[in-house]
């Protein structure tokens, strides 16, 4: 049983980033930096468990939504739909390309001489979450491939004589500890948001962590019931945010703020501005605001830009500090 999302102590920035990605999955994945045991995977799991079940074609191996069934490579025969939980796929460190992308179904190829496709983890994660612990230890080519699919929303397999195309839209959540090897800057740039998590350095919060985990271990059902109301509120907020997202305004002043911020901190490329814009809009929708204002931009600027700054190895200042400095200089 997953830990209730609202019962997670502290880690506000991570929770905010996850909620924003739930409101607008197009923002791109969330990269979580932090030590082990800081609740990264707990939060991701909790979020996917929190989301209400989604409608999908019954028995479809690709989790197809009813309206996209005609694109399904399996030619979903029936139009019968079923409620399935939002998938949460935990990608193992040693996963091979075959397992991730999908591959020729060996059994059918060898046994019956049929050329059939066996969907991989990407198909399973469609419309849900793909969580990769220690993404910095994953093979580079696999990370490339994942980010590519995450960006295009489609998995195209051209190998072993197969040509398969299926939708694969998921929120990629990567986690890793930069002390154990870093991610290539090109890869980092393709994550929408990034957050840094630390175990709370405050006794009060630590005690609260112990209390809540203890309560959950004693009686998971009762614990879940205690937090059901708070969780339901979050579900409602996400649903409202999703609905409001297309109507949230994006005034020119906010766009100008975003552009000047990117110039001030020296973020490479245009992804910075675009993510700032999308994340500010999603955050405004989440907060129930009519348009994305400077305060929304401020709240999400660190997580949208932190991983995009060109690093000067001889400069000791951390990215977060540089963004904070720029924010204070620009907006007071």
């Amino acid at each position: 049983m997953a830990f209730p999302f609202s019962a997670i102590v502290g880690q506000d920035e991570m929770k905010r980033a996850l909620l924003i990605s739930a409101v607008d999955p197009r923002i791109g994945g969330v990269m979580v930096f932090g030590d082990r045991g800081t609740g990264k995977s707990t939060a991701a799991r909790a979020l996917s468990a929190l989301l209400p079940p989604m409608l999908a074609i019954a028995g479809c191996r690709y989790n197809c939504a009813p309206e996209e069934a005609d694109r399904c490579p399996d030619q979903c025969g029936s139009r019968k739909t079923a409620k399935v939980p939002v998938p949460f796929v935990d990608l193992p460190l040693g996963a091979t390309e075959d397992r991730v992308l999908g591959a020729l179904d060996l059994e059918r190829a060898l046994g019956r001489g049929e050329k059939a496709f066996e969907p991989g983890l990407l198909a399973r994660a469609h419309r849900g979450y793909l969580y990769i612990d220690e993404i910095n230890l994953l093979e580079d080519h696999l990370v490339d491939l994942l980010l590519d699919v995450a960006a295009s929303g489609e998995n195209l397999v051209e190998r072993e004589g197969l040509s398969v195309r299926h939708p694969a839209r998921f929120v990629l959540i990567g986690s890793g500890n930069p002390e154990e090897g870093e991610l290539r800057p090109q890869l980092l740039d393709r994550f929408g948001l990034s957050v840094e998590v630390k175990t709370p350095q405050d006794i009060e919060q630590r005690i609260e962590i112990m209390r809540r985990c203890d309560a959950q271990e004693r009686d998971a059902a009762a614990f879940a019931a205690d937090w059901a109301d708070a969780d339901a509120k979050i579900v409602k907020r996400i649903a409202r945010g999703k609905k409001a997202l297309p109507t949230v305004g994006m005034p020119d002043s906010t766009l100008q703020d975003a552009a000047s911020l990117c110039i001030a901190v020296g973020a490479d490329g245009l992804r910075g501005e675009l993510t700032l814009m999308r994340a500010a809009r999603a955050y405004a929708a989440l907060e129930g605001a009519k348009s994305a204002e400077r305060k929304h931009l401020r709240a999400i600027a660190p997580m949208a830009l932190r991983h995009r700054l060109r690093r000067d190895v001889l400069d000791e200042t951390g990215s977060t500090a540089r963004i904070d400095r720029a924010l204070t200089e620009l907006f007071g």
């Binding site: 030590d35 082990r36 045991g37 800081t38 609740g39 995977s41 935990d90 193992p92 460190l93 040693g94 091979t96 390309e97 075959d98 020729l104 060996l106 059994e107 190829a109 060898l110 046994g111 019956r112 001489g113 612990d133 220690e134 230890l137 093979e139 080519h141 072993e160 004589g161 500890n177 930069p178 002390e179 154990e180 090897g181 870093e182 991610l183 290539r184 800057p185 630390k198 175990t199 350095q201 006794i203 009060e204 630590r206 005690i207 962590i209 112990m210 209390r211 985990c213 203890d214 271990e217 004693r218 009686d219 998971a220 690093r311 190895v313 001889l314 000791e316």
Partner: protein, 588 residues
């Protein structure tokens, strides 16, 4: 009973909640703990994981050979499923690959419910994978001798508790704590008492402040400590008190410490604030209500005593716990069946990560189709007949990862400014390391010793931390520095990396290989070390960093059969460019 044995016993009682035990070092205590675990887990699944287990056996999946023979799909169960609810023993855990460790960690996170016993024979440099040690509660030394001969090796259930309350309290309430049928009803009963009377939160502030003081960041460790404290108290049929806290501190929090609490003799580290005290409404909690400061003192002392010596030494040098390293383990290197430049296919079974080369398999099978069809019955289905021997797998050629070892003269004769440039060069190389698939290591020699300050890593974050406090001054033990560099180069070459040594010195050694001062002896020793370096065949460069280049450094370079570069006014960028040009210019 020793802590290690106690830990094993508690683990048997609550395998899923405590995760496991990490036993370091061989000794009678380890054997005893293992024997105890084996006995306690009798009747439940006990599996051993060989270090080089393949993925199919570990996680289950299609059994290719059997499926082909049978003509239909045959699955094999993985070891991880088989071990559910039981015990998974990992011998030689220090040699385990990151891939296998990752799979096990994932299974544990998904609630596989087994206890993990990591048997670690590694020394100071090697250790079990961090992803697993993080997920086991107890970190125990197995070297201790069994002092108390009267410690019975009988498993948990058969040892009677001091007081044995009658059996038969609401079983359903036991479930969350007792978890499996294994633990004795006696201990479970006391837990029920506790569940009813004690919110269990009164020792939480002590654990929280202790973990903060020791710099244990992981919330997992904190929760393990909480569980262990309670189970330890249950075992002794009492409410959790300072002895139980001390046990958790010794076996869980202390070994994970990354800093030594800043405290005077009578000043406990961050004392819990008054409002952190448990709500005083509980009558029971009043009776074992200790003075929080006194309690924490005692527990803190227990934790401090349990910090391993090498960790203590490193903390003293401001380098954090040994396990913060993680990089450079044996497991990082991957089999090259997955990536790189494709080579031809070769016969073999597609398992253990190797991929089937379909076209080549078919090509191998085609010539035999007619004969095979004749061998089968008339009504055999029309299909391609592929035998096990036809299977081909893909192979790739992978370029060995490069490793640049900086051996830096940090002595007084090399001005401190030089040191800063060496540091800058290391950082610049690291910034490039991802692109070049290269790692960087740093050895500094000064005074009477050479020290590996930065084990091979690709992490800039980690390097910055270490290099920030690189000290300088003292004599020049050139021979020792060279020996350390060759040793590192050789061990790394054995792990499949291609080392390149950049020696930054003025060549004027004045400390010999035994750490004794004396210019003549030191010079001879340095030349001898340089010749040994040449014999190992490692590539290298000597960068003369003295303001006025001297013949000594050139002589060392000649003996090392390495290039010699005089860079009297080089800055960090210059050093980095020179090393890169020599190392990678040649390689490509």
């Amino acid at each position: 009973m020793t802590d290690t044995l106690m830990a094993a016993r508690l683990l048997a009682a609550a395998p899923a909640r405590l995760g496991g035990i990490w036993l370091r070092g061989a000794g009678p205590e380890r054997e005893a703990a293992l024997a105890l675990l084996m006995a306690a887990f009798e009747g439940r699944a006990v599996r051993r994981v060989p270090v080089h287990i393949d993925e199919e056996r570990l996680c289950g999946g299609l059994d290719v050979a059997a499926s082909l023979a049978a003509g239909h799909r045959i699955e094999q169960t993985g070891l991880l499923q088989e071990a559910a609810g039981g015990l998974l023993v990992v011998p030689m855990a220090e040699r385990m690959s990151a891939l296998v460790a990752g799979r096990i960690a994932q299974a544990m996170d998904a609630g596989a419910g087994f206890a993990l016993a990591l048997i670690d024979d590694g020394g100071e440099d090697e250790g079990a994978p961090v992803s697993l040690t993080e997920r086991v509660a107890f970190w125990c030394e197995g070297v201790g001798a069994l002092v108390s001969a009267n410690a019975p090796l009988a498993p948990f259930p058969s040892v009677p508790s001091p007081s044995t309350p009658p059996v038969g309290v609401a079983q359903d309430k036991l479930q969350p704590l007792a978890e499996v049928e294994g633990p004795s009803p006696t201990s479970a009963n006391t837990s029920v008492d506790m569940l009813g009377t004690n919110e269990g939160g009164d020792f939480a502030p002590s654990l929280a402040s202790l973990s903060l003081a020791l710099g244990v960041d992981s919330a997992r460790a904190l929760l393990f400590a909480q569980t262990a404290t309670r189970l330890h108290a249950e075992w002794h049929a009492r409410d959790p008190g300072e002895e139980d806290l001390a046990f958790a501190a010794r076996t869980i929090l202390g070994p994970r410490a990354t800093r030594i609490p800043q405290q005077a003799d009578d000043q406990p580290a961050p004392p819990p604030e008054p409002e952190n005290e448990p709500p005083p409404g509980d009558a029971e909690s009043e009776q074992d209500h200790h003075d929080p400061d006194a309690l924490d003192d005692l527990v803190l002392a227990a934790a401090l005593a349990s910090i391993p010596k090498d960790v203590l030494a490193r903390i003293g040098e401001g380098r954090g716990a040994r396990r913060a390293s993680g990089a450079g383990g044996a497991g990082r290197k991957r089999a090259s069946q997955l990536r790189g430049r494709p080579l031809g296919a070769r016969p073999g079974l597609p398992r253990g990560g190797a991929r089937l080369a379909l076209i080549d398999t078919l090509r191998a099978a085609v010539p035999w189709q007619e004969i095979r069809r004749q061998q089968e019955a008339q009504d055999a289905p029309k299909r391609l007949r592929i035998r096990k021997g036809d299977l081909r797998i893909r192979r790739f050629e992978e370029r060995a990862e490069a490793l640049t070892i900086f051996a830096v003269d940090a002595s007084g004769s090399s001005a401190l400014a030089r040191l800063a440039e060496a540091k800058g060069a290391v950082e610049l190389m690291l910034a490039q390391s991802y692109v070049k698939r290269a790692q960087v290591a740093l050895i500094a020699f000064r005074g009477t010793a050479a020290e590996l300050l930065l084990p091979p890593t690709r992490s800039l974050t980690r390097a910055k931390k270490v290099l920030g406090e690189l000290p300088g001054g003292g004599g020049t033990p050139l021979a020792l520095g060279l020996a350390a560099a060759s040793e590192l180069a050789e061990t790394q070459a054995a792990r499949g990396r291609t080392p390149f040594v950049a020696l930054l010195t003025d060549g004027k050694g004045n400390i010999d290989k035994h750490g004794q001062p004396g210019r003549a002896q030191a010079g001879e020793d340095a030349l001898a070390a340089a010749r040994r370096f040449a014999a190992s065949g490692t590539q290298g460069v000597v960068i003369d960093i003295s303001a006025r280049p001297q013949p000594e450094a050139a002589a060392i370079a000649a003996a090392m059969r390495a290039r010699y570069l005089a860079l009297p006014r080089a800055d960090a960028r210059g050093v980095e460019q020179a090393v890169s040009a020599l190392q990678f210019g040649k390689a490509s």
